[in-house]
């Protein structure tokens, strides 16, 4: 496309031009700067480099205008690569194999009032342009401060599962490829969606049980199975967002106990042998996990847990100041990484030299060497107002 639309010139700055030492300077640079082509829109690589992550900006002061920031953690000069709309308590998913991002959002015809529309939008990872939409019926999409496990993929990424809360609980099954809603599974008493096996999911229930559902080819429930008492919500509650290592979900409790779940089969089951992330001096009263995304994993399966020395009842969202690295095979802590500030979310890149990405409450994004814990760089508060989740595609 050439610039063929109206453009207008102005004499505004001509006096400045005339006052400048043009003659002398032009001698050093005989040719003027080249003309630049317009219009021009940046395109991203179809496959994002392994230093790139997606950071969810909850945008507290305008929740209706939330965003997903595409961030190059290796680039302190221009870390922000683009924004994807994530409106009104949205959830976002990345399907790297398809080169697609999915957002599950809610809209009103008059911003804050009027007709409500819930929809999944399909975005192209290279252009960040929308390429499809699936309207969700019933105006029931769960609106929460963003948790990853309210919107998940199953059936090899062909389908998506969306949590509903009215406060009646259910899960909507969507065929992403066919761009249509398949159906809805009632899920009274259970929350969040942890994909299981080839086509199904598990949820954590209010009575401490784990409930697994398998889906048939039409997206209806084919079978279900409950495993009782997988957690003690009163005394040893598990944060709802686990670290995923293949089909193993590693959860951490408010007190720092690690519990694995095997999601490879049609029925999710707890792995035997929970263990502690350990303890340390200096707690006031004690070290506990704290933040919004408090546990994550690297490609080798090591776990990273965001820890606060101010741990007590109610401290679990206050953020942390260290990351403790734990080897779940050895059930032992292998490293303590001191952070630059009060941090709410962590993730580890899949680079050949993996990096720990830490989102501070201030909005600053800090990068550490995952193996040594050494501070590498800060990106500053340059990508999001309220970064609360970090996705590594």
């Amino acid at each position: 496309m050439r610039l063929i639309a109206p453009v207008f010139a102005s004499a505004l700055c001509l006096c400045a031009v005339l006052a400048s030492p043009a003659a002398a300077a032009e001698n050093r640079f005989p040719q003027p700067l080249a003309e630049e082509s317009l219009p021009s829109v940046t395109k991203l690589p179809a496959t994002w480099p392994s230093s790139w992550v997606a950071i969810h900006d909850f945008h507290f002061n305008a929740i209706v205008d939330g965003r997903l920031a595409v961030v190059d953690t290796a680039n302190p000069v221009q870390p922000l690569k683009g924004l994807v709309r994530a409106a009104q308590f949205a959830n976002a998913l990345i399907a790297k194999d398809k080169g697609e991002i999915y957002t599950a959002e809610t809209f009103y015809s008059r911003l804050t009032r009027g007709e409500r529309t819930d929809a999944i939008t399909v975005w192209d990872m290279a252009t960040l342009q929308p390429k499809g939409e699936i309207v969700l019926p019933g105006g029931k999409r769960q609106q929460s401060v963003t948790y990853p496990h309210l919107f998940q993929l199953t059936n090899g990424g062909k389908w998506a599962l969306i949590a509903n809360f009215t406060p009646a609980q259910s899960v909507t099954v969507v065929d992403l490829d066919a761009r249509k809603v398949l159906g809805e599974i009632d899920l009274p008493g259970c929350s969040q969606i942890y994909p299981t096996g080839p086509r199904g999911f598990a949820s954590l229930c209010a009575d401490g049980s784990l409930f697994s559902v398998t889906l048939d080819a039409n997206g209806a429930a084919a079978s279900s199975k409950s495993v009782p008492k997988v957690q003690d919500i009163d005394n040893q509650a598990l944060f709802g967002t686990p670290a995923m290592v293949g089909t193993t979900a590693w959860f951490v409790s408010f007190h720092g106990m690690i519990q694995g779940f095997d999601l490879s089969g049609t029925v999710a089951r707890p792995l035997p042998g929970s263990f502690s992330v350990g303890t340390a001096e200096g707690g006031a009263p004690e070290w506990r996990p704290g933040g919004w995304q408090v546990i994550n994993a690297d490609a080798s399966g090591k776990l990273y847990v965001l820890m606060s020395p101010y741990g007590k009842e109610g401290s679990h969202k206050d953020g942390g100041t260290e990351v403790w690295v734990v080897d779940p095979a050895k059930k032992a802590r292998t490293l303590r990484i001191p952070l630059k500030g009060q941090t709410l979310a962590i993730a580890v890149t899949k680079e050949s030299t993996p990096h720990l990405v830490a989102a501070q409450a201030s909005g600053a994004i800090d990068i550490y060497d995952a193996a040594s814990g050494a501070f590498v760089r800060s990106l500053g508060a340059t990508v999001a107002a309220n970064p609360i989740l970090i996705q590594v595609p």
Binding site: F165, P167, D318
Partner: protein, 191 residues
């Protein structure tokens, strides 16, 4: 999918007030579901990692003058996250948004369904049943953001989780702020 009973409990004000610890435990133990939660918003954007201000910097207005009830029996600053009724609040305080500790700002609608917490009044030592209601239909107030999580539990137990947007039964689900109203006295119970 009939494993769980559909438990959309209707607990009237009197029931909530009169609930003893034993009956509460029984109720929770029954796997009560389809339930409620405190309003919303997590991780307040706190300025420091120290425990002095763990619940958020009170929006851009940290230095605002106190909002007081004038009653010796209801002490504290209603624009502060530390006010006694806010023991489990999560969101913008309506006291800073055109409402009050127990009324929504004009232009909003109060969420008709709500979560109930129990907070201790330091003046009279009583435990009060507090109704946390969201005010809905106007965008984020942006003032006095607070997040206190004493007793908060993961979304697996909705009635104990404060990350839901509780603008559910309202005409619009757009969230503006949250109130904390006294709706009764909790009955004391032996431990």
């Amino acid at each position: 999918m009939a494993r769980f009973d559909k438990l959309t409990e209707n607990l009237a004000r009197g029931i909530a007030r009169g609930t003893s610890r034993r009956s509460l435990l029984a109720w929770l133990g029954a796997g009560m579901t389809g339930a409620a939660s405190i309003p919303l918003l997590p991780v307040a954007r706190a300025a420091t990692p120290a425990p002095e201000a763990p619940h958020g910097p009170h929006g851009p207005s940290a230095a605002r003058p106190p909002i007081v009830s004038g009653l010796e029996q209801d002490p504290g600053d209603q624009s502060s996250c530390d006010y006694w009724r806010y023991c489990a609040i999560d969101g913008f305080l309506c006291s800073c948004c055109g409402g009050s500790v127990n009324t929504c700002p004009p232009g909003t609608e109060m969420s008709p369904i709500t979560w109930i917490g129990t907070c201790t009044n330091p003046a009279d030592g009583r435990a009060y049943v507090i109704s946390y209601n969201d005010c809905c239909g106007v965008s984020s107030c942006g003032q006095c953001l607070c997040n206190r999580n004493e007793g908060d539990r993961p979304q697996a137990r909705p009635q104990s989780n404060n990350d839901y947007n509780w603008c559910l039964g309202s005409e619009s689900s757009i969230y503006n702020c949250s109130v904390a109203a006294v709706i009764g006295v909790a009955l004391p119970a032996a431990k």
